[in-house]
Symmetry: C2
Subunit: 387 residues, 2 copies
């Protein structure tokens, strides 16, 4: 096992009827708060009203910054930073899914510096402090509610970049699974794919030869994400299914699976980010296209690892490792299809002749993420397996 | 899933050569520190010197309070509180296993109040604040390094009581698996039993009917504790085996397994605490005696749960649930015997005629822990299954 630091200051408040706690949990950090949210679905579901009432009860003045879109964009983050500075807010509260939380993180980091926030993403500047951040999560997917990662798209340069810093970890995150009853089958499925990808990125990129503790943890989460997603699809208002699904998505990327694995990477995200940056496809839909192709490519290098997953998660019988690996990947792909996720570029209306352009787009982030082995040629080869 | 709060402020620094960080991690909380340790094994292994040098380098004045014994006693805690108050220490640093850390927690809580510390254990007073606590862990077992629990024995009244409070969570814990190379097979085995018991207490006492996420997590840890313990027994200086074992023991009782299970209890610990309180047996040895008996007693009430463990951990084939349960318990007991742990009262030199006295002793803690269903009669019946 490799040395690691596990530091998780986020207080998770999980369960039914927990949203009214957001006010008293946030006011600890300040009375003037930037309230970040999305395209307004929280107004339809009544969550907006609950949050505003809780803020009022706690004596918080909420400065609103709604309108975050999926694949959140830099221009909107910059606006948020401007508003935060003008109003001298003391904290940021995010109410929404991963896009909203990631935007709020970028604002929390950008509001305390003079330079442009994009410099953080280009790793030209490092984050030294941030405004305190609290969250109400309304979508099980990204894990952003309990980690220090954030992803933002620079829509001018078509760059979807992600970075991480422990200071970006929310201080409080409220997770009420019943807020996700209204999430449709498409975004439920994308969330499942996203959470699975977070586990599998680490599972397949660790270079440690023997990681039995993390393996069982990851395999258990993979099984549970698929099983709970199936239950949600069958009955969208099944509280326990939504709860299992939500908690799995959080655990999938809160540092626990990675602890001890040494350096791990996000090569599938690397490629997906270019799909989202250029075509603005939903993140989970991009991932369900990239994952089977990347896994097929990678299985040749390390079939034993893929065979283990196939055996423990998909109950593939012992056989030649390469065969087991291929069966496992086929099972995963079949499951993606079962939950109506795209599994090839064509399903996203992305023509094959765009492959070189996509591969070219990956190179900026490959540098930021120190994934230089993902050359244009290698990415092209992987993308051809996604057709 | 039941509502829960998961709040884990402990910064875990895990790996080789991490002990020299204790000074700079502790000085953040103060320059005058009570340094709590055990019977002196850290002097033989050189850990004491490393810690003292690190304190010195950080400008810390360390007031020493060594001599903590296994099954730590109240009188020694009270002495520590006196020293802490006299010297106005600003923080407490514990270097040792669970007994040392638990003593340090009790001192950290007792040093900031005027009343006697035992009142916390009798739940006559509640903990409102504590001195900051940092740790270096040298024994994989209790999980105290990442939780808010502490257990102390009042040797005058023969009461071994345990309580929990989130304020008791260490702020930093340093875990270097190589510090455990010198832990002999007896205490390695006791540690394994202790860690297993922490998982199984929750696994079998949750009243939630369906907890698939927590189940996979707990089953994975049970498998890994047994496997890594076997590897340690085969080669005591196998770093990865020690590391897997140590991290499992931490994860076994850091709140993660319990999150969402609702109210869980420690009935096996309840009975074991009386064995330790009266006969001062090692905690793990007491548990390996109590566990098979308690499980046999309990399996009648909920055979499905025991059958699931048998199937997923011991690969017992599908059959009648009661039979599967019995096979699973037999497998666990056989493993305890394989690692040379006692599995009946006789092996601890405790005569059967003492059973009523032991059962009587459990009643005080049963009240504190709200386990009133564990009447004298019920405990006697369980203990008769431990002969």
């Amino acid at each position: 096992m490799r040395n690691f630091v596990f530091y998780k200051p986020t207080k998770i408040i999980f369960g039914r009827d927990t949203i009214p706690q957001i006010g008293k949990e946030t006011v600890v950090f300040g009375k003037k708060v930037l309230f970040v949210y999305g395209k307004g679905s929280i107004k339809k579901t009544g969550i907006y009203d609950q949050v505003m009432k809780s803020f009022q009860d706690a004596g918080i003045t909420a400065i609103e910054h709604g309108g975050v879109k999926s694949n959140p964009v830099l221009s909107h983050v910059r606006e948020g930073i401007k508003i935060a500075k003008e109003n001298r807010v003391e904290a940021v509260a995010a109410v929404g899914g991963g896009s909203v939380i990631d935007s709020a993180k970028a604002i929390a980091a950008g509001a305390v510096v003079e330079h442009d926030v994009w410099k953080f993403f280009r790793t030209k500047k490092s984050i030294k402090k941030v405004l305190p951040l609290t969250c109400v999560l309304t979508l099980a997917a990204s894990g952003s509610e309990m980690n220090g990662g954030m992803v933002v798209t620079n829509e001018e340069t078509l760059q979807k970049f992600g970075i991480g810093n422990h200071l970006l970890q929310p201080l409080v995150s409220i997770l009420d699974p019943s807020t996700t009853f209204t999430v449709g089958p498409d975004y439920t499925a994308y969330g499942a794919v996203d959470a699975l990808s977070h586990i599998l990125e680490f599972y397949f990129t660790t270079r440690e030869p023997y990681t039995p503790v993390q393996d069982r943890l990851m395999e258990g989460l993979v099984i549970n994400i698929m099983e709970s997603c199936n239950r949600v699809m069958a009955r969208p208002d099944d509280y326990n299914a939504r709860a299992d699904f939500m908690w799995c998505a959080t655990l999938a990327l809160n540092g626990l699976t990675a602890a001890g694995l040494g350096r791990v990477g996000f090569p599938m995200h690397l490629i997906e980010h270019s799909l989202s940056a250029i075509y603005d496809v939903p993140h989970g839909a991009g991932l369900s296209v990239v994952m089977p192709g990347w896994m097929t490519h990678q299985a040749h290098e390390n079939p034993a690892r893929f065979a283990q997953l196939a055996e423990r998660v998909f109950y593939v019988k012992k056989a030649d490792e390469s065969k087991m690996a291929a069966y496992g990947i086929a099972e995963l792909k079949a499951w993606f299809e079962k939950i109506s996720c795209p599994t090839d570029l064509g399903a996203l209306q992305i023509p094959e002749q765009d492959i070189p352009r996509i591969a070219e787009n990956t190179q900026g982030l490959a540098k930021v993420w120190r994934l230089e082995e993902y050359t244009k040629d290698k990415v092209e080869a992987i993308l051809r397996l996604c057709t």
